[in-house]
C-alpha cells in the first residue's frame, strides 16, 4: 500500500527510540525521533503520522534486540493445507509470543539427511520468527489506532534487509564503483551459481543511530544469523570504534561455524563506515577468502539505487535499511499478531474497499463521460442533420419553384411524348419503304399497284399486360407481323416468260436486300409457271390485235410482310 504520490511512513523500532521516516517517491527522510520515555508519546506520534507524514500508510520495521528466529523443517503438504500446517508449527515453536512470522527458505543441504529427519517425508525449510509484546509496540499500535492511517505491514529489519546484502555484494564484486545508475540486477542467478559451487556468505555490519551494531549474515541469499550489540556510540576514537567492530565480528564468526561456515567458503563483508576507517577495517577484518568492503552510507545507497538524505552520517546504516524496505511493494516476512491484526485487517479491507470504490468511481466516470460524449456527439449530429434537412428541403422547394416557373405540365410533356413515340413505333415508314422499292426497280419493273394492309390488333392499344404467344419449339415469344405490302406488276403479253419470271424474282431479291431485317419479301405470283406444275392455254390464229394484247397481258406479285422493328431501349421518359 502506498499513499498519495507514492508516499510511505516507516517506523524504525529500536530499543531506545522510535525513528519515523517518510518516503516520497524514492527519497527517505527522517521526520521524527521519539524516545520511548517521551511524555505524551501516543498523541505526539499520532500527530506526526497524521500531519508530518501526511497520513501515509505505515510500515513497522522492528530492529529491537528482542526478536527470535528458528529454522524449522515443515513437511510438504498440499498447497491448501500448507498454510495451516506451517502456522501450527509456528505456534508450537513460539507458543508464548504474540507476534510471529514465517518465511519459506530455499532448499539446500543433503536430501537424504532431510528425509531421515522427517521420517521419510519431504520437508521444506522455513525461517520462523517471533517477538514479544512490548510496551513499544503497544504505544505504536495505540498511536496507529488513534491516527487512522493504514498499516502497510510489520516486518523484522534483519529479514527485510537480508536481500540487500547479495545485491550489494554483487554490485561491489562487479566493480560497482563506475556503475552510477544504481540499478540492481536480480541476484537469484548468481545465488544459484554459488549454491552449485559452494556456500556464499555475506555479512553486513552497520551501526544504528541508537548506537547498536547490527550484523546480518546471509548464507546463499537467506538470512542465517543476525546480532545487535552495543558498541561505542561514535567513531570519534577510530581505533576504539574499529576494535569494537572487530570484536563483535569475531563473536559473530564464532557463531557462524555452527551454521556450517568453513574458512574455505567465500565471505563478503560490507561495513558501513567512514572511508577514513577503510584501512583499519580492512586490516582488522580481512583475511584469506574474505573480501572486506568499507562503504559510506551514501555510497552504499547509491550502489543500491536508493535515495537518502544527504546529511546522514557516513557510518549510520539506518537509512539504508529503511530505504531498502520502503522500496519493496510487500514485506518478505510480514509479522502478524492479534493486536496488530485488529487494526491492520479492517484498515487493509477498508483500503481495499476504497480502492474498489475509486475503481468503481473511475469506471462510472468513464462510462458516464463516454455516455455524455456520445450524447453530445449524437446531439450535434442530429442538429447537423436537421440543418442539412432544412437546407435540402429549401433546395428542393427552389427546384420545384424553378420547375413551376416554366409554366408547364411535366406529366403532360412526359406522357404525351411517350404516346407519340409509341405511335411512331407502331406506324409504317411508308416513304422509306417506297424509296427502297423504287431503287430496286432499276427502271426495268413497272409497278401496277401498291397495297398496304395492316394485320393484327389495333396498334393504338396501350395495354401492355397482354402476354405474347410463345413458340412451342424455342420458347421465345412469337412476333406477329404488323402489316402486309403487296406489289403488283404487269408485263406485255409478248414478254419472254422465263426472262420475265427471272426479272420478277430478281426484283424480289433486290427489294429484300434493300429493306431492313424486319421485312420479309416473297414472290407470290410470277408471270407464268412453265414447269410441270403450271397450266397453260394458248390460242393460235387471227384475232383482234388489242384483245390479243389484253388477253396476253402478264402480271406478277411480290408480297412484303412487315414485322415490328427490333426492340430498342425504352426512352428515358
Amino acid at each position: 500500500m502506498v499513499g498519495i504520490f507514492g508516499s510511505k511512513t516507516v517506523l524504525h523500532i529500536t530499543d531506545e527510540s522510535l525513528y519515523v521516516y517518510k518516503t516520497i517517491g524514492k527519497v527517505v527522510r527522517l521526520i521524527g525521533v521519539m524516545p520511548w520515555s517521551e511524555d505524551l508519546f501516543v498523541p505526539k506520534l499520532t500527530d506526526i503520522l497524521e500531519k508530518d507524514a501526511g497520513g501515509a500508510p505505515v510500515t513497522m520495521l522492528y530492529d529491537a534486540v528482542d526478536q527470535h528466529y528458528r529454522k524449522e523443517r515443515v513437511p510438504q503438504v498440499s498447497f491448501f493445507d500448507s498454510g495451516k500446517v506451517v502456522q501450527r508449527k509456528l505456534n508450537l515453536a513460539f507458543p508464548s509470543y504474540p507476534y510471529k512470522a514465517y518465511l519459506k527458505l530455499s532448499k539446500d543441504g543433503n536430501k537424504t539427511q532431510k528425509k531421515q529427519e522427517e521420517g521419510g517425508l519431504k520437508a521444506n525449510p522455513y525461517l520462523f520468527a517471533a517477538c514479544p509484546d512490548s510496551q513499544y509496540l503497544q504505544l505504536i499500535l495505540a498511536a496507529l489506532s488513534q491516527s487512522g492511517v493504514s498499516i502497510d505491514g510489520f516486518g523484522l529489519l534483519p529479514v527485510e534487509s537480508a536481500g540487500m546484502l547479495p545485491a550489494l555484494a554483487e554490485k561491489l564484486s562487479s566493480g560497482s564503483s563506475n556503475t552510477g545508475s544504481g540499478k540492481l540486477k536480480k541476484p537469484r542467478k548468481k545465488k544459484n551459481q554459488a549454491m552449485a559451487a559452494g556456500n556464499q556468505w555475506c555479512v553486513f555490519i552497520g551501526q544504528n543511530k541508537s548506537g547498536g551494531l547490527r550484523q546480518i549474515v546471509v548464507k546463499n541469499g537467506d538470512l542465517a544469523l543476525t546480532r545487535i550489540s552495543p558498541i561505542v556510540e561514535t567513531d570519534a576514537d577510530p581505533d576504539l570504534w574499529v576494535n569494537e567492530i572487530n570484536r563483535e565480528f569475531r563473536a559473530t564468526m564464532t557463531y557462524l561455524s555452527r551454521f556450517g561456515y568453513s574458512p574455505a567458503d567465500e565471505l563478503s563483508i560490507a561495513v558501513i563506515a567512514s572511508s577514513q576507517q577503510d584501512d583499519a577495517l580492512q586490516q582488522a577484518l580481512g583475511r584469506e577468502n574474505v573480501k572486506v568492503h568499507v562503504l559510506e552510507t551514501s555510497h552504499a545507497a547509491h550502489l543500491l539505487g536508493l535515495r537518502i538524505e544527504k546529511d546522514v552520517e557516513a557510518r549510520i546504516a539506518d537509512p539504508l535499511h529503511v530505504a531498502w524496505t520502503a522500496k519493496k511493494t510487500s514485506l518478505n516476512m510480514p509479522v502478524h499478531g492479534k493486536a496488530l491484526d485488529e487494526i491492520l485487517v479492517p484498515r487493509k479491507n477498508a483500503f481495499l474497499a476504497g480502492i474498489v470504490g475509486v475503481a468503481l468511481l473511475a469506471g462510472a466516470s468513464y462510462y458516464a463521460s463516454t455516455s455524455y460524449i456520445e450524447y453530445y456527439k449524437t446531439s450535434e449530429n442530429l442538429e447537423q442533420a436537421n440543418r442539412e434537412l432544412t437546407q435540402v428541403e429549401s433546395i428542393y422547394q427552389s427546384e420545384l419553384d424553378r420547375k413551376e416557373a416554366l409554366g408547364i405540365n411535366i406529366q403532360l410533356i412526359q406522357n404525351s411524348l411517350f404516346i407519340e413515340q409509341q405511335l411512331k413505333a407502331a406506324n409504317i415508314d411508308l416513304f422509306d419503304m417506297v424509296r427502297k422499292i423504287r431503287q430496286a426497280q432499276q427502271g426495268v419493273i413497272k409497278l401496277e399497284a401498291l397495297k398496304i394492309e395492316r394485320l393484327g390488333e389495333d396498334v393504338t392499344s396501350t395495354d401492355t399486360n397482354t402476354q405474347p404467344e410463345l413458340d412451342t419449339e424455342t420458347g421465345l415469344p412469337i412476333v406477329p407481323p404488323i402489316a402486309k405490302l403487296t406489289l403488283g406488276m404487269s408485263f406485255s403479253g409478248d414478254t419472254d416468260i422465263v426472262r420475265g419470271n427471272a426479272a420478277v424474282r430478281s426484283f424480289g431479291t433486290r427489294i429484300d436486300q434493300n429493306l431492313p431485317d424486319n421485312y420479309e419479301v416473297s414472290v407470290t405470283k410470277i408471270l407464268k409457271d412453265v414447269s410441270y406444275r403450271g397450266e397453260i392455254t394458248r390460242e393460235v390464229g387471227l384475232s383482234d390485235g388489242q384483245a390479243q394484247a389484253q388477253i396476253g397481258k402478264l402480271t406478277a406479285e411480290i408480297e412484303v410482310t412487315i414485322f415490328p422493328p427490333a426492340q430498342e431501349e425504352e426512352s428515358a421518359l
Partner: protein, 208 residues
C-alpha cells in the same frame, strides 16, 4: 470496528461508492435511453435528408432532360397533337394539300371520333381521341399521290397511322391519253385509297 477504520474513511468510501452509483445510474437510466432516442431521431432525419437529396438530384436531372424534352413537346403542340380534331379544319387542310400538289381529286371522309382508354393520357388529364380517316385520291402521276401523302404525314395535325393503302394504276398511257395530256385535260392514271387512324390527345375540357 468503526473506531478502528474511522468514520472519516467510512464516509469517504461511502461517498465514493455513492458517487460511482449515481454516475452509473444517471448514465444508464438517463443518458443511454436519451442516446437511443436521439440516435433514432438522427437516423430518421438523416434518412429524410438523404431521400430529399435524392429527390433534388432527380428533379435537377429531370430539369436538365426537360430542356430537350420541352422542345419536342412544343413541336408536338405545333403539330397539333393536342387538338380536338375539328372536321372542318381537317377538310380545309386536305383541300389545301390537294391544291399544293395538284391532284385531280381528293375525297375525305372522317368517321365519328372514339375516345379510347389510355392511362398515360388520363394521367395528364387528356383523352386519347381516334378517328377513322378515309382518303380517296386521283392523280395523273403516282408522284403526286406520294407528295400528297408526304404532306399528310408531315403537316396534318396529330398523328396519322396507316391502316390500309391501295395505290393502283387505273389506265395505261395510249395515244388518246397522250393527246389529252397535251391539251391540258386532266387525266386520271393513278388512284389511291387510304384508311388512316387519326390520333390526337386533346385536353378533356377541350372536348366539352
Amino acid at each position: 470496528m468503526i473506531d478502528i477504520i474511522g468514520m472519516k474513511r467510512i464516509l469517504t468510501i461511502g461517498i465514493i461508492i455513492a458517487m460511482a452509483f449515481v454516475l452509473s445510474a444517471s448514465a444508464y437510466f438517463f443518458m443511454t435511453p436519451n442516446i437511443q432516442t436521439i440516435n433514432n431521431e438522427y437516423s430518421s432525419v438523416s434518412s429524410q435528408a438523404s431521400t430529399k437529396r435524392g429527390e433534388v438530384l432527380s428533379l435537377r436531372q429531370e430539369f436538365t432532360e426537360l430542356q430537350g424534352t420541352i422542345r419536342d413537346f412544343r413541336l408536338l403542340e405545333e403539330e397539333g397533337f393536342f387538338i380536338n380534331q375539328n372536321r372542318l379544319e381537317a377538310s380545309e387542310i386536305v383541300e389545301n394539300f390537294r391544291d399544293i400538289v395538284g391532284l385531280n381529286k381528293a375525297r375525305l371522309e372522317i368517321d365519328p371520333g372514339e375516345i379510347l382508354e389510355n392511362q398515360k393520357a388520363q394521367e395528364a388529364g387528356h383523352v386519347f381521341l381516334q378517328s377513322k380517316l378515309n382518303l380517296s385520291l386521283e392523280a395523273q402521276d403516282d408522284l403526286e399521290i406520294f407528295a400528297f401523302l408526304k404532306l399528310m404525314q408531315d403537316r396534318f395535325p396529330g398523328q396519322l397511322l396507316i391502316e390500309e393503302m391501295n395505290i393502283m394504276k387505273t389506265r395505261d398511257i395510249d395515244e388518246v391519253v397522250l393527246r389529252q395530256i397535251g391539251t391540258g385535260t386532266p387525266v386520271t392514271l393513278m388512284q389511291a385509297d387510304l384508311v388512316y387512324n387519326w390520333i390526337t390527345i386533346p385536353a378533356e375540357e377541350d372536348l366539352e
